[in-house]
Symmetry: C2
Subunit: 440 residues, 2 copies
């Protein structure tokens, strides 16, 4: 029996995910505004035969300056816009998938259908859309609203948004454009389908003014963590990006989502589940540990304290290397209790607390040799907790360079990772089917 | 006294502007969906030292199938989306400006500010935005509306939209990002400006999550033909794309707009006026004429009749080479009268009528040798009817290849056109100033 193959995505936002990473000497601190930074990252991931690079996104500066002075010390503020960036990266890569986040709460289906279809054509079938509903008031404030949509409305709107978008992608049959010069016929009239959608959230006539995407639809990505989210993912997602730190949780989630696919007439392999994995890798375990400690030391205390501000309130008046005080803020009592219990159990200082809280951001973290990282990956894939991983680099471009140079050869030696791209499109490389048109 | 220098843009939508061009053997009929087509066009224009390439746009299939069967015989239906395309083209060009149309009626200022700022950074300061308000019901139908905005609301909204967009571009001072690794300070807090805009059409808090554009603001382009449009252009546009067929009209417009600039504290040269110019050029006049006739013969009668459908109604039941009948449709009586008078004066058949009506689409047309085309251009520029031209190619890529190979050397020989790019950004090449931030 052949070994379970590992799928890989790279989350390449900004300068990586470590809160102090931008201060590291090897990190180009202005990289988030430079296309050359991302071109190098995407090309490195492509050299490592990754399935895709992925851009998270938010539609506003989501951090408030809590505690005062923390905002100006964080690098999470300016960056290139994801859809224009993916189109640009399509021109300097040739195999890797290009996935961007776009919100269903603060966009229009016509624009989203059009832009992703365009990127899919520009890239020769490598586009993917990470579907999110957004979550912060800061985003609502940039789009004529005082408040973010509430949960039910947000998800109703998202479901309708995706249906409209798919309908627009099906506007033209794949073989509609005959472009017969002698006859003077550009398209077959029966290959054009006008959507005429009229629903509670959207009225969209169509047709889309782009040919059907190369992949039928671009690859559809979702988080799908809640029960409702799992149902939506099972119905129509090709990839789930999830966050688990525990194999048991990952396995329970994996079983739950995969078991829902049959009801939608879908094969178990039609949906790939990729938990996030923050890997810090070096030739020896000691070097990997050193890398990690070096980064942790670069977190400015105000930036660290911002990571615990939500549950704990402002701790900046307390001695940073003193004991963790009981917070006054009653809004997040349960989350504060978790942190306080951990602090008490480990005898943590305030610094220890924020260093722990800022790490991984809910994703599994592995620090070690290429062999140890490969073991950790195989354990979850063979244990049916994952089909692969969305690699969360601590810093960029170092995080992806290390992974490609050290971990990829190890995975290839073990026979669990490709040595050449299997297909031309992202769907072909992921091994997920190309959706037929509703009119086919 | 040095000679007046000519500025050049290229309107590079789809396969060119001739209604029968897609049927020509030299035209790649599927080009509008292929990035390689546009990369070749943009690179050719850059070889010809053009200031910019320009993409017109509409947010829907704007043609109805009138007369029946005409829609499927036209190539104006699918194409790549302009903003993703410009970002892609930024990676395969290095000097030429990249200008796209985006509508203020069916977009949000935050998205538009963000995407153009991103393209400006990706391209190193070569982005431009052609500001339009859209005009068709077909576009409204794709964005949750039964009808297009009426004139006043559309222009009110556009003015506020542009103000918000500029405000977002000024979110961060040019020198806000110190990225001091030792100190742990990413930006100076006093370099961040939160817009907090609350107006009749938009409530946008800001800040933008992109650094201030390389050019301060991307180059702002407008049509500005009406009196209201001229005022807006004089207040804030860097370039006007206009359509004139008569030098007197062009001069009157030029005088009118330029005279308004001083009131806004702007120099006469701060706004460039570029009429469209459809040039069909060949080494000899006879060859140019042949090219033109060859194209005209490729217009399918149903496509030709679609060009006169608005004023004249459906003429497809009449003999195509017979006399022009008096139409029944009373909706467009005045436009029909113009066409009927022309037909009577010239003794035109129906075919003659649609061939004339489809030509140039309101833009000046010149058919001739490189010397004749250069003469025509100099006449308008020296006569203060233009600062240059937006070249409207009959077909692509042939139209730009011919222009660059034949007309550009002629203009250079005459000393009226650059032999090397003057600057690094589109503003520098156009010779329009870089706007200061409102917070500077």
């Amino acid at each position: 029996m052949s070994k379970r193959q590992i799928k890989l995505g790279l989350s390449m936002r900004q300068l990586g995910y470590h809160a102090g990473g931008w201060r590291h000497p090897a990190v180009p601190a202005d990289g988030a505004m430079r296309i050359a930074h991302f071109a190098h990252i995407a090309q490195t991931a492509e050299r490592g035969l990754f399935d895709m690079v992925f851009l998270a996104d938010g539609l506003g500066l989501r951090q408030r300056d809590n505690p005062p002075g923390s905002l100006a010390r964080s690098d999470r503020n300016v960056e290139l816009e994801p859809l224009t960036m993916l189109a640009a990266l399509a021109m300097v890569t040739s195999h890797i998938g290009l996935v961007a986040t776009a919100s269903t709460s603060y966009n229009e289906p016509f624009h989203i259908a059009r832009k992703f279809a365009s990127i899919d054509h520009i890239s020769g079938g490598r586009a993917g859309w990470n579907i999110v509903t957004s979550w912060s008031e800061e985003e609502a404030w940039n789009f004529n609203r005082d408040r973010h949509f509430d949960y039910d409305e947000r998800y109703d709107r998202a479901a309708e948004f995706v249906e409209v978008t798919k309908g627009l992608w099906d506007s033209w049959d794949q073989d509609a454009f005959v472009r017969d010069k002698a006859e003077g016929l550009f398209f077959r009239p029966d290959g054009l389908h006008v959507l005429n959608h009229a629903g509670p959230h959207f009225q969209v006539r169509g047709p889309l003014t782009v040919e059907r995407p190369v992949q039928g639809y671009p690859v559809l990505v979702q988080a799908g963590s809640s029960e409702a989210g799992q149902e939506i993912a099972a119905a129509s997602a090709d990839v789930c990006f999830v966050a688990h730190t525990d194999l048991g949780d990952a396995q329970a989630y994996y079983r739950s989502v995969k078991s829902k696919l049959a009801r939608h007439g879908r094969d178990e392999d039609a949906l790939k589940i990729l938990p996030g994995l923050l890997a810090i890798v070096a030739p020896t375990e000691a070097e990997a540990r050193n890398k990690y400690e070096e980064l942790q030391a670069l977190i400015h205390p105000l930036v660290g304290l911002a990571h615990v501000y939500g549950p704990m309130g402002d701790l900046s008046a307390y001695p940073i290397d003193g004991p963790v005080p009981v917070p006054n803020d009653p809004q997040h009592r349960s989350r504060a209790k978790v942190l306080l219990d951990m602090a008490a159990r480990n005898n943590w200082t305030i610094r220890d607390l924020y260093l722990a809280a800022s790490m991984g951001r809910g994703h599994r973290t592995v620090i070690g040799t290429p062999g140890q990282v490969a073991d950790a990956m195989q354990e979850w894939v063979d244990g049916r907790g994952a089909d692969g991983f969305n690699i969360i680099p601590a810093t960029l471009p170092g995080g992806i360079e290390d992974f490609v140079d050290l971990v990829v050869p190890e995975l290839q030696d073990r026979g669990v990772y490709r040595t050449v791209y299997e297909g031309a499109t992202l769907r072909e490389n992921l091994g997920v089917p190309r959706p037929a048109s509703r009119h086919a």
